[in-house]
């Protein structure tokens, strides 16, 4: 029996910050292998050393939006833990965990976007998301490429890398086939505010139980589901960043998961002790809901705000004369 597959590739540094997809880079003797995985299948793309023209690292935010989100959740857990006696151990442990994640993310330094360029393609390397990681990975890659192509010299760089630029046409070219217009509606902002409201409702339901809170909970849940479905339909027609799409899908998964868990736990509690209003795991489940909806809401609002700013800052297209 062949227990381990043949070791032909060596992993390069860099891990994506995603629970669903997983990009990674692997180094072989004569090529770089980019792997995109959804945990159940893998798609490979090979870049042979002789074809690689350049890597571009573009600095993004000094601190990633996930760091702010983790910090906000840590504060959300630690502040009540400091003020109240109620469930203090749970709050301290959860808050400490998120504080550790925040510090670890700060320690990773500024984030970046990394691209690989060949004569015919330019692709984003999803696993290289921090400048430090990208530089480390490229320092491992560089000797292999230089062995095939030779070292880069200032004399070589002085040569023109491309023919003189052609003057831009006065008339805006038609959009590329398959290109989608950017999303300009306010649906995403609305959904992320609803998620934050859901987090607040979960927080309130810890101390206040009754019909008004239940009605508010159901209203928020129904609005949330309608909004998610509507946005998922719109995503097919409009261009939206991948991270925002992931948050919308995560919101749907989390909402379905919490609703299912609450329903099952209520059913079990009702069978064990008929007539009871509460169920086992009520407080931890609501605490988790506060944290998860809070993170999704804050991260989503941060990302959509940044996306809007990016759209506003994009260079204006020459208007038809």
């Amino acid at each position: 029996m062949k227990w381990r597959s043949e070791r032909r590739y060596r992993r390069l540094p860099g891990r994506p910050f995603s629970a669903i997809s997983r990009d990674s880079l692997w180094l072989a003797e004569d090529h770089l292998l980019s792997v995109q995985s959804n945990r159940f299948s893998e798609t490979y793309r090979r870049y042979y050393f002789r074809d690689i023209q350049a890597f571009t690292i573009q600095r993004k935010a000094p601190i990633s939006p996930w760091t702010y989100a983790a910090g906000a959740v840590a504060a959300a857990f630690l502040a009540p833990g400091l003020l109240f006696e109620f469930q203090r151990t749970f709050l301290w442990i959860s808050g400490g965990l998120f504080l550790a994640i925040t510090l670890a993310l700060i320690g990773l330094g500024p984030t970046c976007v990394c691209y690989i360029q060949t004569a015919v393609s330019r692709d984003r390397l999803g696993s290289l998301r921090w400048i430090r990681t990208a530089e480390k990975a490229l320092s491992i890659l560089q000797p292999g490429i230089e062995q095939v192509q030779g070292a880069m010299t200032p004399e070589l760089a002085a040569l023109p890398s491309e023919p003189p630029p052609i003057p831009a046409p006065a008339i805006q070219p038609p959009p590329l086939p398959g290109a989608k217009p950017p999303e300009t509606g306010w649906g995403y902002e609305f959904l992320f505010v609803i998620l934050l409201l859901d987090s607040l409702q979960s927080y309130l339901s810890l101390s206040h139980r009754g019909t008004p809170v239940d009605v508010a909970g159901w209203t928020i849940l129904i609005t949330e589901v309608i909004c998610i479905v509507w946005l998922m339909i719109r995503q097919r027609r409009f261009e939206v960043p991948g991270a925002i799409r992931v948050i919308v899908i995560l919101a749907l998964v989390v909402t379905a998961g919490f609703t299912y868990a609450v329903y099952m736990l209520r059913t079990i509690a009702a069978q064990l002790k008929p007539g009871t209003a509460t169920y086992p795991g009520y407080v931890p489940l609501h605490m988790t809901a506060i944290a998860v909806y809070g993170v999704l809401g804050v991260a989503g609002l941060g990302l959509i705000t940044r996306h809007r700013q990016f759209l506003r800052r994009s260079p204006p297209v020459a208007s038809p004369q």
Binding site: S5, Y9, S41, Q58, S161, E162, P165
Partner: protein, 192 residues
């Protein structure tokens, strides 16, 4: 293809290719670093068109009127400049390349693989976590996938069969637990 800023798509000047730190893009100011390699300055060969053959010269297998310049390293067919595919420093004909890719001859041709071990592990764990009862279906499916695809090629990356093993053990454990539960329920009903 020129090296452009990832944000504003403006072509970056040549001094970006020799500096070793982040520099602001002249167009949008985004801090960027370029690791450039000599391939960027290599002139691209003109697209092969295949020269016409004259009487007495060997013609291409696919284009008999074009002059053959190389032979396919796999099947030995004569190829013109148009049909020759330079792959891994060898000359390939389009037919051999296509059939090798279809028959998965060697991992260099593959661009997609299904990770059956992860699928089996998901069937063994997720239904069980979803409050036990769905594992009535999940455990047998996990067992079937583990046995059926034990020898199927997995990832081309270094990977052990531990996921298959864990999936099998979990699935057997769940089935045993389920059997014990059913036995207890039936036994207690009969006694009652």
């Amino acid at each position: 293809m020129p090296v452009t800023c990832a944000r504003c798509q403006a072509p970056l000047p040549n001094y970006f290719f020799i500096v070793t730190n982040l520099m602001p893009c002249p167009s949008c100011g985004t801090e960027t670093r370029v690791h450039a390699f000599p391939a960027l300055f290599r002139s691209q060969p003109a697209p092969a068109v295949g020269e016409l053959s004259v009487a007495g010269e060997a013609g291409c297998f696919y284009h008999p009127d074009k002059r053959a310049i190389v032979t396919c390293h796999l099947c030995g067919r004569f190829l013109c400049g148009l049909c020759n595919v330079d792959f891994k420093q060898q000359n390939w004909c389009p037919g051999c390349l296509e059939s090798s890719s279809r028959k998965r001859k060697g991992i260099d041709f593959e661009n997609h693989r299904v990770l059956y071990d992860s699928v089996a592990l998901a069937f063994a764990t997720l239904p069980f976590l979803a409050l036990f009862y769905p594992s009535l279906i999940g455990a047998p499916v996990a067992l079937y996938i583990s046995v059926r695809y034990w020898k199927a090629p997995g990832s081309i990356l270094p990977r052990t069969k531990i996921r298959f093993l864990v999936a099998i053990l979990l699935a057997i454990g769940q089935l045993v637990l389920m059997g014990a539960l059913i036995y207890t329920v039936v036994h207690s009903t009969r006694r009652a």
